[in-house]
Amino acid sequence: MKEVRILDVNVTDFEGDKEPILFLHSFPMTAEMWNRQIEFFKDKFRVISYDLRGFGRSISRDNIVTMEKLVNDFFHIINALKISTVHACGLSMGGYILMRALQKDSQRFSSVTLVNTKLTKDDNEVLLKRSSSVIKIQSGGRQAFLGKLIPVLISPESRNNPKILKEINDIISLNSDTGICSGLIALSTRTDLSETGIEIPVPVLILSGMDDEINKKQDIDELLKFVRNNSKNKFVLNYAIRGCGHLCNMEKPDEFNLILQYFLNCIENERHIR
């Protein structure tokens, strides 16, 4: 495993000749949220993960981050690592990046796994909520902001699990106030992908936590419908994991890993049949 810096972004790369799989984290986390997946997949795949610009060890020099910048970072990173096509898995914000990247250049993907994410951009209400969060954090209200956010990120079941709560708190503590604020602004600069359209030539796995309070079932249903309508090879798998919320990969890592492995196995088997 090695760590590389690509345009100020901190990338962890398990290298090797194996097929690459890349994980993109959600707000306000870092690549560490994928530890259980990295551990599980690193023997079979070239596992890559990175802290999104502004988060963890990745720098934003002027604090100005747009969604498009995050998407361009994704392409820079796979180019720099000389990866032609990649299995990519993104949760929430990570999923937004992947969907926009798919729209810009779908040829760079072997498959896409979209976890607890959605197509639509922020409406007025959400925009104003994000901006009041920035104002709150800037005036010393980081703890209050996180105190409200963290319970919403996980299921009622996980809220009583001190181990998960500690993991989440430890990861978020790696992020600076300015990083969190620049992330909130970047989230607000999303475009509406349902209006512009994407042609999806690769297999897609849509994963969700059944108790996700951020991304509701309706969002997942819309995403699924959209992906099915725009899928060229018609390989679309959908699965909802019980007993977990937005951070389902941390809350139910075993189940998450099994489903992702099943999806990747299907792709591999299909290749053999062909």
Binding site: T66, K69, N72, N124, L128, R130, S131, S188
Partner: protein, 261 residues
Amino acid sequence: MLKTINGISVYDNGIGKPPLLFVHAFPLNSGMWEPQIKYFGNDYRVIAYDVRGLGKSSSEDNLFFMENYADDLVYIITALNLEYVNAVGLSMGGYIIQRAVVKNPSLFRTLVLADTKGEKDTDEALLARSEIVKSIRNGGRNNFVSGFIKKLISGDNYKKSGLVDTLEKIISENSDKGICGALNVLATRTTTLNQLESLDLPALILVGEEDILTPPDCSKDLAKNLKNSEMHIIKNSGHLSNMENPDEFNSLLEKFLNKHN
């Protein structure tokens, strides 16, 4: 006459007349209001400021939304101990005033919205702004500025000597960082049109007839939603109607202000 309020550089002529406050457009600063500051300086308490991050106004972290801009405006009004203002905003200045007035209607006696609109960015505009941020970072500032000035003013005014130089000079006072921060603010603003319906304060809506950035149709939408409003189209002018045709702009503004003050 120049003071700093919460990091914001504010010009205030300080005279005991009705307050008239100007909020500038992107990517300019309060320097764009020179023709108005002179014209109204005897009869009004003229106030004009540079928004956070632009001109002489500082920004520590460059992290803000339209709400911060709107809150700054309200803060300035309060810090100057003003009971109310007549507020004039052009383009971005209009967006700022719209949000501020929706949140604090009692602070505004009248509203003047020039070359602006009530709708948030389309996806196309959003992506274009992100491209501008990228090109400014990659040293493309001069290209951006010269291209943008062409869009700001009408073709005829572009050919006349003077205005382009003035605009270049004003923009040169703004840092790359401030311009990029403002682009993100513009990209993440909300739609205000439907929120204006509840306001009954007198509003003047002005737009240059050759404005291609916020064409007259945008102003018509504003006029429709502001029930106590009058709208005028300014001749021989693009987006920067107060600078391109100051005579007509000032006389319409003066008539409106005198009626309500």
